[in-house]
Amino acid sequence: MQTSLYLDRGTWIHRLHPAVKLFALFIMFWSVFWVDHPLALLPVAIVMVLLAQASRSWPNFYTFRWFLILMIPPTMLEWMAVYRAGAPIVNLWAIHLSRQALLFGFGRGLKLALLLSSSILFLSTTTIEEFTTSLVTFRMPHRVAFAMSLAFRLVPLFMDSALTVVQAQSLRGYDFNRGNLVERMKRYVPAVIPVFMGALRRANNMAMALEARGFGLGITPTSFIEYRIERRDIVALLALIVMGTVYFIVYFKGYAAIAAG
């Protein structure tokens, strides 16, 4: 089974310096963070589509399509229930539906979808080694950076073993989806224990193999792949800074606020 989202396409995005890619991820989060209005989020969405096209990452977006789509409606519903400002279009018991609530809810859903999209984009174009390098560039100790990037590798393995465990228990007649939310959570115990025990065993094997292969010697590891700052990195960096600044100004000046009425 495939254990990472990385797609080896060799596009100019793939070839960016790992630190620039991590910075890009940060700027996407930053930009999305400052604004609420869906229209203000639209440029980020467009950038995301262009980048996905340029890096040919669509297969991963396809894998996550339902997550991306389903993020919006529940978020909208949730905000309709709690957002109280604006003139109501519908006012039924707990539901106070205004144009603002709709816009705000849609904006929030879009935000979540964009955060997920930028993460997919990052993981589609960045190898685990590059991720480690990028963290080290931002002064994270090598050991910690390596451990963090290793975690990304482990998640799909655990997902795989969780799937097998769920299959094994359901063949023994176990129904995971019975009762209310709390009961359901409790009902996952027969799956959680085997997955957890398996994870511990695997982590132990991995730690052993890591040490046996010289990890933790205390010597600064040779960086096998040499990352040079190219012109495209400078251009990308400038563009990202401009984008981040513009979004902060938009927020500061209140351009993207959702107007009452």
Binding site: N205, A209, A212
Partner: protein, 654 residues
């Protein structure tokens, strides 16, 4: 752990990791191939490649020592094989050589370990990594990188080796394991055998003094196994110092020296010819003795046969048989086909060796034997099928086709082995039978009813599935609760559940473990517990996915004794396996799969005649089968071979 306190004189040999890399720097002028061939030319006269003196080790919290006074010397260029049951101390011994014991696994350690004359006392695991290369059984857990080249570079990077040096070592290492051209591949996209070869390449690139392989092929399919052992033989020819740990003795016949471990002690050692003929000792130590030697021993020949040819020559000499067979061809004498009915006798003999399984069989045996004998007349079953796949197609979304027009049926009381390389569709087919996967096209019938119309409770009663890894289903805090979990999901009464728990505990011979914590059981016991918890649902068809993988010989016999006794009570069995001897000795029908298609479906003896098909799947017939052919006989087990050859000797004389 107080090694230094106990051996204060050792402290003077302070270990410097940089010394190691400096030592390898000295060798850098020579090219890689030279290093492979003569890795220890200068040290050949000087020091052993590895040395252990009176090593004793007890894991923290354990009552008994895992190693009890191990003395071992590995000479440069030597290949030593280590065998023994699970828990005999094989892996612990291996871990001592690279300091995983006691630096990673805490415990009470005493004794001396030296690598090329350098004492490891006080060193960290990573310090030893350039000196001792270790390849683990779990190949998924030892690869960390996104491409093959980076994987090989990993340790060298950690050692801080100059970049140019790393680059210059990658290609030769890949070439040495036959992975040239794989540098940019993602390791997760490799087959099991390729992954294990990559792990070996990563170790070779360091030019270590010693390479330790801890059950490198246990989790591999026959093709992967063959690849890895071919590589090991090559490394041996190049003069590397190797320690290989294995369950199966067959593969270790090429070693210079063999060691048998039991309860942390070396109970036998010497050249293969002297160790392999001590059959009783090997069996009591949980090692599967080579079938050729077993066949010879039954015929009263106390000699070692390293190959089928050797065995043939020995037998011809002792029994003075002149009849010529057909060594390569698949010509079988039909007169000997009936020998297969001797199967019951041989199986009984094995069951007697393994008394527990004989007892669990005995209960239902009397009633079931008659039926089993009738069924043995034909390899199939005359009854209406328990499970049936009709024109089954399956592919994952956006993925390639995994099952391609499968037609398969299994009737009551059958014993079917499904074999084929990893990825051939065996597990996918089995999962369809129990409804874990939905066919892309075609349908699955359980006792004549479309599986999609059945409720889970009905499915569970018709077909049970035991996963390859028992730890994928064990979660309860006692053995009893684990078994009761299934029946309680179907709302059975307390008395009924209690009755079933008692019944299956008896069947799998875990009565004494009723109150124990499943996580503290041995792997073999956990595997039997997994079978018990599925049996508690009383399925009429039981599917076992690689039930013997990772078990030692004794546990394998016990497991298969259990499966056979269940089959005798009328439960139909499907096992998915990679072990030819298991198919030969237990199954009556074999199904060979390749690339999602069934290539062969028929009786086991016919199956082992399909030379071309078997070769394509790297599936070797048991050696006794090949030996029998040389005399024009048919045999699937040493016992069958012995009785057939005796009969032949009689007729030859008269």
């Amino acid at each position: 752990m107080k090694p230094t306190a106990r051996h204060p004189h050792l402290r003077s040999t302070a270990y410097d990791p940089r010394l190691a890399s400096r030592a390898s720097e000295g060798e850098r002028d020579r090219n890689f191939a030279d290093n492979l061939i003569e890795p220890a030319a200068e040290s050949r006269q000087a020091q052993p490649a590895a040395e252990m003196c009176s090593v004793v080790f007890t894991y923290n919290g354990a009552t008994a020592a895992a190693l009890r006074g191990i003395d071992l010397t590995l000479n440069p260029g030597e290949m030593v094989g280590i065998m023994g049951a699970s828990g005999a101390g094989k892996s612990t011994l291996a871990k001592c050589l690279n300091r995983l014991v006691p630096a990673f696994e805490p415990g009470e350690f005493s004794g001396i370990v030296r690598i090329r004359g350098r004492t490891l006392d006080g060193a960290r695991v990573s310090d030893v990594s350039p000196l001792v290369g270790m390849v683990f059984q779990d190949f998924e857990a030892q690869l960390f990188s996104t491409n093959v080249a980076l994987e090989i570079a990993f340790t060298m990077q950690q050692l801080g080796m100059p970049r140019e040096e790393i680059v210059s070592r990658i290609e030769p290492a890949l070439a040495a394991v036959g992975l040239t051209g794989f540098a940019h591949r993602d390791p997760t996209s490799l087959s099991g055998g390729e992954k294990q070869r990559l792990a070996i390449a990563a170790v070779l690139a360091l030019r270590p003094g010693v390479i330790v392989l801890d059950e490198p092929t246990t989790d591999l399919d026959p093709e992967g196994k063959a690849e890895v052992f071919a590589l090991i033989r090559e490394l041996r020819e190049q003069g590397l110092s190797l320690i290989v740990i294995e369950h199966e003795a067959d593969e270790l016949r090429g070693c210079d020296r063999l060691l048998v471990l039991r309860d942390g002690q070396i109970v036998a050692q010497g050249p293969p010819a002297s160790v392999m003929t001590q059959l009783e000792l090997l069996e009591t130590c949980g090692v599967h003795p080579p079938d050729l030697n077993r066949a010879l021993a039954i015929l009263g020949v106390r000699a070692h046969a390293a190959t089928v040819e050797d065995a043939e020559a020995l037998i011809r000499q002792v029994l003075s048989i002149s009849v010529e067979g057909t060594p390569e061809g698949a010509q079988w004498s039909p007169a000997h086909q009936e020998e297969r009915s001797a199967d019951d006798q041989t199986s009984l003999q094995w069951a007697q060796d393994n008394k527990e399984s004989a007892t669990c069989a005995s209960d239902q045996e009397k009633t079931a034997r008659g039926r089993a004998n009738n069924e043995r007349d034909g390899w199939g079953s005359s009854g209406s099928p328990l499970a049936e796949a009709q024109q089954l197609y399956f592919s994952y979304p956006l993925g390639p086709r995994v099952l391609d027009a499968i037609n398969f049926r299994i009737g009551p009381g059958e014993f079917v082995a499904i074999v084929g390389q990893n990825g051939s569709g065996k597990t996918t087919l089995a999962k369809h039978l129990v409804g874990l996967l939905k066919p892309t096209a075609g349908r699955v019938l359980l006792e004549g009813r479309d599986r999609t119309t059945l409720r889970p409770a009905e499915t569970a009663h018709k077909a049970g599935y035991v996963f390859q890894n028992p730890d994928h289903q064990i979660f309860a805090s006692t053995v009893e609760a684990e078994i009761a979990f299934g029946p309680s999901n179907f709302g059975l009464s307390k008395d009924e559940i209690e009755g079933r728990v008692a019944e299956v505990l008896h069947a799998v011979n875990l009565e004494g473990a009723r109150e124990r914590d499943p996580f503290l059981l041995s792997k073999g016991e956990r595997q039997r517990l997994a079978v018990a918890s599925v049996l508690a649902l009383r399925p009429r068809l039981l599917i076992l996915d690689e039930p013997t993988t990772g078990l030692d010989y004794r546990e394998q016999l016990r497991m298969m004794g259990l499966v056979r006794s269940l089959n005798r009570t009328g439960i139909a069995i499907i096992i998915i396996t990679h072990a030819p001897w298991l198919v030969a000795e237990y199954a009556r029908r074999a199904v060979l799969m390749r690339r999602g298609r069934i290539l062969f479906d028929g009786p086991v003896d016919k199956f082992f005649q399909q030379d071309d098909l078997l070769r394509q799947s790297s599936f070797r017939p048991p050696e006794v089968t090949l030996l029998a052919r040389r005399f024009g006989l048919a045999a699937l087990s040493p016992e069958e071979f012995a009785s057939a050859i005796r009969a032949l000797a009689e007729t030859d004389k008269s």
